[in-house]
């Protein structure tokens, strides 16, 4: 029978419409669910974007009733909801939240889950779509997927869909990512697989394509003829507070941040225009960027282009801080990097010879993620002998991802006065000062998209694998070569090791002052 069309759909809100579904969250008593997922779903409801007959099933191992589970989530929502907490809305939203107690690896738990979902379908009068959200520790992803497959829950009833959302990290190298992709592929079709990278849900990350492709001012100049270098910085002033050292020390900056978030930003900045805005057109272009990264093979190439470092004792915001190896749950002999800086080249026509510099680190002076595009200087012959106030005469475009999302442009102007002196001036657009309404949280947008079947802001399997392939070579040089590149050091509260400054100085560049 032909699908009936809802005549009242009018794309009223000009955004994705979630389809009726049940969301099953694996690891639902965890921090992510409490702080991010439930507040995000509640805020989607507050915007009127939740589908009818929506249900959440929380899956975890401790024994608790629906009521206790809801009360815990309510507490979390009060603290974390972007648009506050409304009793009437919460009570309507919460009555559709249920708790399911089971071990991830217990087949009987999945039989009972299936019975529960079937019961909901009977109450609804029709089978529902199902979204399985893997919000557990990554080691549990494979067992959960195996169980979903064995229980048949991965198969949607006729005319419905079953999708899976995978949290980060997606593997810890190419081999584990491939193995995970294989398990995912044996369980769900790629079009039903949504790999979260919450950076893609951020407003300014989504704005990169608009900025590049919708503005005649930038589109023609976005290439090696006009761009001198691009810098991507992700600075954290935090260290290993709250016990995060345990996980971090097994991952490091390169795997925790560069392979996923920063490569996603890099792809958005460097990609060719997609033919349309469909998920695959956009991702086809993004993956080409990662594939075109000039590989860094062997310890010499890695040493010449990558700087790794750990912070030593120092102070941040006037507070004394211990060094990385003295942090809680960090191995005192750790060889895990808390900072990494990379010089990358993208071997495409558009980017020939343009270095892309990436740096990410803990215990830097402030929290900031931004992309800066540094334009080549014009000949400036008539001004060559003129004085300049400022540290550089190049035009720079800065895209601030967080905090204080916005765009700034640095240009040169004549200083007022009789003399012809030049000065840098900054034109600054800030989302928060121009728009009074707060942007949705990344998880709101991503959950809505997953329920609507739009995978544009999720990583595809080939993106993930190509990124790991590149990262693995660096890891190999660091950890398995005879002459591993050194582990550098920087005082906590500084902008990273001197070696990272040197990396740019060799090219006649310097890191942008943040």
């Amino acid at each position: 029978m032909a699908e009936l069309e809802n005549p009242f759909e009018e794309n009223l809100l000009n955004r994705n419409r979630a389809e009726p579904c049940t969301v099953v969250i694996f690891g639902a008593t965890g921090d992510l669910t409490n702080r991010k997922l439930i507040p995000a779903l509640y805020n989607v409801a507050a915007c009127g974007d939740l589908p009818p007959q929506f249900k959440v099933v929380g899956f975890a191992r401790r024994d608790k009733s629906d009521e206790v589970f809801r009360a815990e989530l309510e507490e979390g929502n009060r603290r974390n909801s972007r648009q506050g907490h409304d009793e009437e809305l919460w009570s309507s939203f919460a009555q559709n939240i249920h708790y399911h107690r089971s071990e991830f690896e217990d087949p009987a738990g999945y039989v009972r889950l299936k019975q529960l979902l079937d019961r909901f379908d009977r109450e609804r009068g029709a089978p529902a779509n199902r979204l399985f959200y893997l919000a557990s520790a990554p080691e549990a992803f494979v067992p959960i997927l195996d169980m979903l497959r064995a229980s048949g829950l991965n198969h949607a009833p006729q005319g419905r869909w079953a999708r899976v959302v995978c949290e980060k990290p997606f593997g810890k190298d190419l081999i584990t990512a491939r193995a995970l992709n294989d398990t995912v592929a044996a369980t769900f079709a790629e079009r039903d697989t949504y790999r979260i990278d919450h950076y893609l849900g951020k407003e300014t990350a989504q704005n990169i394509m608009v900025l590049r492709f919708a503005n005649a001012l930038f589109e023609p100049n976005w290439n090696s003829r006009y761009i001198d270098n691009v810098q991507i910085t992700c600075a954290e002033n935090l260290g290993m507070e709250g016990g995060r050292g345990g996980y971090y020390d097994t991952a490091g900056a390169l795997r925790d941040m560069v392979q996923n978030h920063l490569f996603q930003l890099l792809s958005l900045v460097a990609m060719e225009p997609p033919t349309d805005l469909s998920a695959d057109s956009v991702r086809d272009e993004k993956v080409k960027v990662i594939r075109a990264l000039r590989p860094l093979i062997g310890p010499e190439a890695v040493a010449a282009n990558v700087v790794r470092a750990q912070y030593a004792a120092g102070s941040v915001d006037g507070v004394a801080r211990v060094g990385y190896r003295q942090e809680d749950r960090v191995n005192p002999q750790s060889m895990t990097e808390a900072y990494v800086a990379l010089r990358l080249f993208i071997d495409t026509w558009r980017w020939q010879g343009v270095p892309f510099y990436i740096r990410v680190g803990k215990r830097l002076p402030k929290k900031a993620t931004e992309i800066s595009v540094h334009f080549k200087k014009p000949p400036q012959v008539p001004f060559a002998t003129r004085r300049l106030l400022g540290n550089s005469s190049e035009n720079t475009l800065v895209i601030r991802i967080q905090p204080d999302e916005g765009i700034a442009m640095r240009i040169l102007c004549k200083q007022p006065g009789q003399a012809l002196n030049m000065q840098q001036v900054k034109m600054d657009f800030r989302y928060s000062s121009s728009f009074g309404t707060a942007s949705p949280e990344a998880y709101e947008r991503l959950l809505l998209d997953a329920m609507a079947g739009d995978a544009t802001l999720f990583a595809r399997c080939d993106e993930v694998e190509n990124a790991w392939r590149f990262i693995d070579e660096i890891q190999r040089a660091w950890h398995y070569s005879d002459k591993p590149p050194p582990m550098c050091e920087y005082p906590a509260g500084s902008w990273g090791p001197r070696e990272a400054d040197e990396l740019l100085r060799q090219d006649g560049h310097q890191w942008r002052l943040l």
Binding site: L4, N6, P7, F8, E9, E10, L12, L13, N14, R17, E19, P20, A45, A46, C47, G48, L50, P51, P52, Q53, D86, E88, L89, S92, F93, R124, G125, A126, D404, S432, S433, S434, F435, G436, T437
Partner: protein
């Protein structure tokens, strides 16, 4: 001008000579380093009534709290011609570390000005390159002329405040055809989330299966909001591919309208448009639309707003199957509705269609 004509003159800020508005505005920013000016649009309220200055200022304050703009208030009184007067002020909201972000407001009081004079005074004070959105208060009367509306990018009207809806509609449609501007009617915006709720209700496959059995629609509106109900009815008729609306066979009760159309399946669908009973809960009347019900055969979908709360309730019954949902409701304040419009870029194609159909509905309800 007498103080009687300008009851809240002080609410307008600092009076300045027309010729030095821009200079005086710059002074505001020069004097206070903690203030940042921000503007994404020129937003004007245009009124030909004297009495509402306080309300207009409050509306502009509410709008600028969410949307940075150059705010303009133009009150053009039908009195004897007198020189125009101007005031400046700023609406500020906290931003970062003791800083505030502000939108400027320029208020003009004109007397006996024609469209050319309005254009001359007002358009000289727009923030250049930014689009102009005008919220026209009340009926489209004296100055609603080509030279004025041809400069507007988006015109906001409120058909619930029109004295002669049929004539006003013709005037609006005429202008719209001749000039390229976007139109938004707050009476249409008032049903925005109700229409969303209806779409949500019929995302339910069971309800959708039964939709062809529809026989009856009932819309209950708050006092003074018949236009919102009519626009909603016209939209329903169009979406359901109903034939031209006709007065229903049964005579309507006092103040109600009862219409019918022929469905594509050849059945009759009746539409009852009712005002909420005057005795109803007082809060209910601040709401434009109180309920919408679609029923027939084994299906009934009811969408309602209890005592004009911030939520819409949806109840879907299709045979044995039933469920309820809760969704956010549209703002009841006019400024809130305008703010919602500012958030939604681009015009609504559905509204264009409905506006073109509205004359038939006015005719069928005897409002022409």
């Amino acid at each position: 001008m007498s103080n009687a004509a300008l009851p809240n003159g002080e609410a307008l800020g600092l009076e300045v000579p027309l010729g030095s508005i821009e200079r005086s505005l710059q002074q505001i920013w020069a004097d206070d380093q903690a203030k940042t000016r921000s503007s994404l649009i020129n937003f004007a309220i245009y009124s030909e009534e004297a009495g509402d200055l306080g309300r207009h200022c409050a509306d502009l304050e509410a709008i600028t709290a969410q949307h940075s703009c150059r705010a303009l208030l133009v009150v053009n009184l039908a009195a004897e011609t007198a020189p125009a007067r101007a005031w400046i002020s700023a609406h500020c909201r906290p931003y970062q570390e003791g800083k505030v972000v502000c939108s400027e407001q320029i208020s003009f009081v004109l007397q006996g000005a024609d469209a050319a004079q309005v254009q001359n005074v007002v358009f000289g004070h727009l923030d250049s390159d930014l689009p102009l959105m005008v919220w026209w208060q009340g009926s489209l009367k004296r100055c609603f002329e080509e030279r004025l509306y041809s400069r507007i990018h988006t015109l906001i009207v409120d058909s619930s405040r029109w004295s002669d809806p049929a004539a006003q509609l013709q005037r609006l449609l005429g202008a719209w055809r001749s000039a390229d501007f976007d139109v938004r009617d707050l009476s249409w915006t008032r049903s925005h989330l109700l229409r969303t709720a209806l779409a949500v209700a019929f995302q339910d496959g069971k309800a959708l299966e039964h939709l062809h059995e529809l026989q009856h629609i009932e819309i209950v509106h708050g006092q003074g909001h018949r236009s919102a109900a009519l626009l909603l009815a016209a939209w329903l008729g169009w979406r359901l591919k109903g034939g031209k609306p006709q007065p229903a066979a049964a005579a309507p009760q006092d103040g109600d309208a009862s219409l019918q159309w022929i469905s594509p399946q050849g059945g009759t669908v009746t539409v009852a448009i009712k005002a909420a009973a005057p005795a109803a809960d007082q809060a209910a009347h601040s709401c434009a639309l109180l309920s919408l019900e679609l029923s027939g055969g084994g299906m009934s979908v009811r969408i309602w707003r209890q005592s004009c709360s911030s939520f819409i309730h949806i109840r879907v019954c299709a045979g044995e199957h039933q469920h309820e949902e809760v969704m956010p409701a549209d703002s009841v304040s006019d400024a809130g509705l305008v703010g919602a419009q500012l958030e939604r870029a681009g015009g609504s194609t559905h509204f264009r269609e409905v506006l073109a159909l509205l004359p038939h509905w006015l005719e069928a309800t005897g409002s022409h």
